[in-house]
């Protein structure tokens, strides 16, 4: 069994065991088993980084076995510099989520933990699948645990949110299914993604395929104007659900652009690049403004996620090395920062049972340690140099200026909006005098919460100060991708 298989199946096996054997009267044992499962799952992803050959653009840790003979579907796994960091990121966020739920989730603990562990394995499967159908199976299967997580442990309007999440994203991916089957037939009966990259396709076919994939990935990212599900879902999802959704699930869509849309339909990607760039800029600017007026903290962070993911899609479609690398760095950084932001809101929500900004004020007086962490993450969210949030956005803006001054200018101005809504929220929630009696009774974070937030704080700072390990590994793969995309595939 290869390393990638271990990374996928270890968390899934732990999750299944928890679902099958866990009971609420043994919640303590269940939590520890879940934590052990999550940590082991993280440990098995470390050799992926240490054993990765940095200067190779080829797929590494490849595993290939015939899975479904009738359709020539293979269990085909492999990673390159683009997908490498997303896998430890997924496993890391799962550990944090398990810790975050420790005392908070008291009902059906085994199902909660099991769902997150299974989800983690499935998402790693998405990032490492090199067979179109295997990718689709993992991509769709992630909907099931997330649907249950939102619906069972969500807020008052959880059912609406769960359905919206499921049906909205299913709508996009079903069109992708048609595209995958079309490619299978066009490639003479093969679901091999790497073979699809080399397949010559006509201009109109490329456009159709591009939009079929676009439907799936744009909804998942989410791009303006199909982002409307995200705020609704984030508001209702439990803290862990929001964290995983923002940190990892949104990246499934962004990753799809790099693995499918751009290399399979390069001509259509160039043709429609302006279209995608315009949508990304709208996301960055307009959604940034929308975030500013939110009264609900989770909604604010959700809109800010849309804006940050706008940088990712913007970077991809600039078609230069700096832009794509910056976008990938931004994906990873946003994974840490958005998870941290949602966990901070979770810490407050567990105490006050409110997400309204107006219900808070002066939290720093009663929760000084927590407020310090929150400040770091808010700063990272608005892209302060020295934090993870800075590196990716800076690279994308530089790349944008190279391509077109105005795109650069517009995207750079988004940083101002980002600072505005993040800092204004921080001011209203944390600073000033104590807002009301409930805030006065707040207790500062305990050891568990301190540990959980420090894990994320270390990640955010390390990535901000020393991003080299993140950028080095992707260089060869990004260069190769861009070389591939630059060549027309028209027959």
């Amino acid at each position: 069994m290869g390393l990638l298989s271990l990374a996928i199946w270890v968390p899934i096996c732990f999750g299944v065991v928890l679902l099958a054997l866990g009971r609420d009267d043994q919640a303590g044992v269940v939590r520890w088993v879940a934590l052990v499962g999550a940590v082991v799952s993280l440990l098995v992803t470390i050799p992926l980084y240490t054993g990765f050959v940095v200067d190779s653009a080829a797929m590494q840790f490849v595993e290939k076995a015939l899975w479904i003979e009738r359709f020539n579907i293979h269990y085909h796994l492999g990673i390159d510099g683009i997908s490498l960091w997303l896998i430890p990121l997924t496993a890391f966020i799962t550990v944090v989520v398990v810790i975050s739920a420790w005392e908070v989730i008291t009902e059906r603990v085994n199902q909660y933990m099991g769902a997150f562990l299974i989800l983690s394995g499935l998402m790693i499967g998405v990032f490492s699948a090199l067979d179109g159908m295997l990718f689709y199976v993992f991509f769709e299967a992630t909907l099931i645990p997330m649907y249950l997580i939102i619906g069972i442990w969500g807020g008052p309007n959880k059912i609406y949110a769960a359905f919206k999440f499921f049906l909205y994203t299913l709508m996009g991916s079903l069109l992708m299914l048609v595209a995958l089957v079309y490619l299978y037939n066009a490639a003479g009966g093969s679901f091999d993604i790497l073979a699809w990259h080399k397949l010559p396709l006509g201009a109109s076919v490329q456009t159709l395929l591009f939009f079929a994939f676009f439907a799936a990935f744009a909804v998942k990212v989410p791009m303006w104007p199909v982002h409307t599900w995200l705020p609704d879902v984030h508001v209702e999802a439990p803290t862990g659900g929001s964290a995983v959704l923002a940190a990892i699930m949104l990246k499934l869509g962004a990753y799809g652009f790099l693995r499918f849309s751009m290399p399979i339909a390069p001509d259509a990607s160039h043709e429609w690049a302006t279209f995608v760039i315009v949508l990304s800029l709208i996301a960055v600017l307009y959604v940034g403004l929308v975030a500013m007026v939110q009264k609900d903290m989770k909604k604010l962070v959700a809109y800010s996620s849309v804006a940050h993911m706008g940088f990712v899609t913007l970077g991809f479609f600039l078609f230069n090395n700096l832009g794509v690398s910056g976008a990938i760095v931004q994906m990873i950084a946003h994974g840490f920062v958005s998870a941290a932001m949602f966990l901070c809101i979770g810490v407050l929500y567990d105490r006050m049972h409110s997400r309204q900004i107006a219900d808070y004020g002066g939290v720093v007086n009663t929760m000084p340690k927590f407020a310090a962490f929150a400040l770091l993450f808010v700063m990272a969210n608005c892209g302060l140099p020295g934090t993870a949030g800075f590196v990716g956005e800076w690279m994308v803006i530089l790349a944008a200026v190279k391509v077109n001054f105005w795109i650069g200018l517009l995207s750079a101005s988004a940083l101002i909006f980002g600072a505005a809504y993040s800092l204004w929220m921080y001011k209203r929630v944390y600073l000033g005098s104590v807002g009301n009696d409930h805030v006065k009774e707040l207790v500062d974070i305990n050891g568990r919460e301190f540990f959980m937030l420090s894990l994320l704080a270390i990640a955010v700072l390390v990535m901000g100060v020393y991003p080299k390990p993140f950028t080095d590994v992707m260089d060869a793969s990004v260069t190769q991708l861009l070389q591939h995309v630059a060549v027309s595939k028209l027959p």
């Binding site: 479904i68 359709f71 299967a141 099931i144 049906l167 709508m171």
Partner: protein, 494 residues
């Protein structure tokens, strides 16, 4: 003539007939109200038959007998084997339900089920219009009686009456179509009809009219729109165990007779019946999915869901013929067979859960009755959720691969309009996802209404768990069943 009678071709049918009679006779002597002897004897018979059929199917032989009236081939044997297992599982699930509803005062439930299964066998192996018709009547007559088994139940009686009237009408359609084909070709034998049509020189008008009637009759038996109205009433009105008998194994026979009549007999006319099938598929997908949204009764919702699933199944026949390329035809029909088999597997499991939840004096048939099932029994809720996700076509459940196979056939055919059909089917399955998800929502997100403990014997629980895990396991490893289906279908064209 007597030389052509090769008894060995029909031995599963003969064995089943003998055992059905023996069990009916033995049951006369059974005094206990739980009818354990009859039940065990029936299950043993079915189990033995399933094993024998599987062994026979694995030889891969194609043999005709009785002067070409009956054929035994891998497709038929596998379908019979799966139908037998389906009937066996149905009787395991349904025993407690039937016993608590006074349906086991006599042994009719078992005898009629066996005779219905005999009808299914004859339909599947028939290679002659009249033999197929006889099998069909045997199946449906047994089913009419089964639906009416609770004589004192108003709704069941009404359902039986509707079923009988509409079923007789459909049989009439089918028979009328067959008579026209006989008039045009001069034969009732499927192989000969095929030869005559291929050779040409027949009266095309009569032939086409015959095809229209045959397709209408088949559409009724499959439950495709606009011949679907009996399905919701029967599903809802019949006692749940009978719903499963009617809605499970016979679907396999329906698939088989479409293969025998349209593909083996009338393939040269494919261009004509393919268009009708396309219309049936589109209507079934639309009506089935949209009407299911409005249902509050679980059994009725599942009835409309069946209609939409049949629409998908019919698409396999549309795809199969449009290309003209032999390998594509094989692929599409085997996709259809895979769809039928996995659909029956999922249906068994779904109704199995409903049967377990129904107690004495309580019918678990509203969607709301499932409320909070996850809190009452996480295992049952998990099994039901697997079924729902499978019916909705979400991977990694087996239902996804069934839809994938059909879509692949559609897109590979390359004929005009196939991409649009595929997109339509996909959009409809998105709508379908909504009402399947609603069942999951009720089980997992709502608070329980029923708090009575769930009673199920170890045997039922074990079979139900295996059934549910099969749906998941076949989703993780669908290769074997897919190869089995494509090999079986390929044997037809050899």
């Amino acid at each position: 003539m007597i030389d052509n009678i090769s008894w060995v071709v029909a031995y599963p049918e003969i064995l089943l007939l003998i055992m059905a009679c023996v069990i009916a006779l033995v049951d006369l002597g059974v005094k206990s109200p739980s009818r354990t002897t009859t039940h065990v004897l029936t299950l043993l018979t079915l189990g033995a038959l399933a094993v024998l059929l599987a062994m026979y199917a694995r030889t891969g032989q194609v043999v005709t007998g009785f002067g070409g009236m009956v054929v035994t081939d891998p497709m038929g044997n596998w379908l019979k084997c799966f139908a037998t297992i389906a009937m066996m599982v149905t009787l395991v699930y349904g025993r407690a339900y039937a016993a608590s509803r006074d349906m086991m005062r006599g042994g009719e439930l078992f005898s009629l089920s066996l005779f219905a299964l005999l009808g299914i066998y004859v339909m599947i192996s028939g290679h002659n219009f009249l033999v197929i018709y006889l099998g069909l009547e045997m199946l449906t007559l047994s089913c009419y009686a089964l639906v009416a088994l609770r004589r004192d139940d108003g709704r069941a009686t009404e359902a039986a009456m509707k079923y009988f009237v509409l079923g007789a009408l459909a049989s009439g359609f089918l028979l009328y179509g067959m008579s026209m084909l006989y008039g045009a070709t001069g034969s009732l034998d499927i192989a000969k009809v095929m030869q005559v049509i291929s050779a040409g020189g027949h009266n095309k008008q009569v032939l086409i009219l015959g095809v229209v009637f045959i397709v209408a009759g088949l559409a009724f038996k499959l439950g495709a729109v606009p011949f679907h109205m009996w399905i919701p009433d029967i599903y809802q009105g019949a006692p749940t165990v009978v719903t499963l008998i009617v809605g499970g194994a016979p679907k396999l026979a329906a698939f088989a007779i479409v293969m025998r009549l349209l593909v083996e007999g009338l393939l040269p006319l494919a261009a004509d019946w393919q268009q009708m099938m396309a219309v049936l598929a589109v209507c079934s997908l639309a009506v089935g999915n949209l009407a299911a949204i409005a249902q509050t009764n679980l059994k009725r919702m599942l009835a409309f869901s069946t209609i939409s699933q049949v629409g998908f199944l019919v698409l396999a026949f549309v795809a199969g013929t449009s290309g003209g390329d032999a390998s594509n035809a094989t692929n599409s029909y085997s996709a259809g067979m895979f769809y039928a088999v996995t659909y029956v597997l999922t249906t068994l499991c779904t109704f199995g859960v409903i049967l377990v939840l129904s107690r004495e004096g309580f019918e678990s048939e509203d969607i709301q009755d499932l409320a909070g099932l996850n809190q009452r029994s996480p295992a049952l809720a998990g099994i039901m959720a697997i079924c729902m996700f499978s019916l909705a076509g979400i991977p990694p459940m087996v239902g996804f691969y069934a839809k994938l196979a059909v879509l692949q056939g559609l897109l590979a055919s390359g004929a005009a309009g196939m991409i649009q059909l595929a997109v339509f089917a996909v959009v409809m399955s998105l709508i379908g996802a909504f009402y399947y998800l609603r069942v999951v929502k009720v089980m997992y997100f709502d608070a329980p209404v029923q708090i009575a403990p769930i009673e199920a014997t170890t045997g039922v629980t074990a079979v139900l768990s295996i059934n549910g895990l099969m749906i998941l396991a076949l989703g993780l490893m669908p290769g074997g069943l897919m190869t089995l289906c494509s090999d079986s279908i390929a044997a037809l064209f050899r």
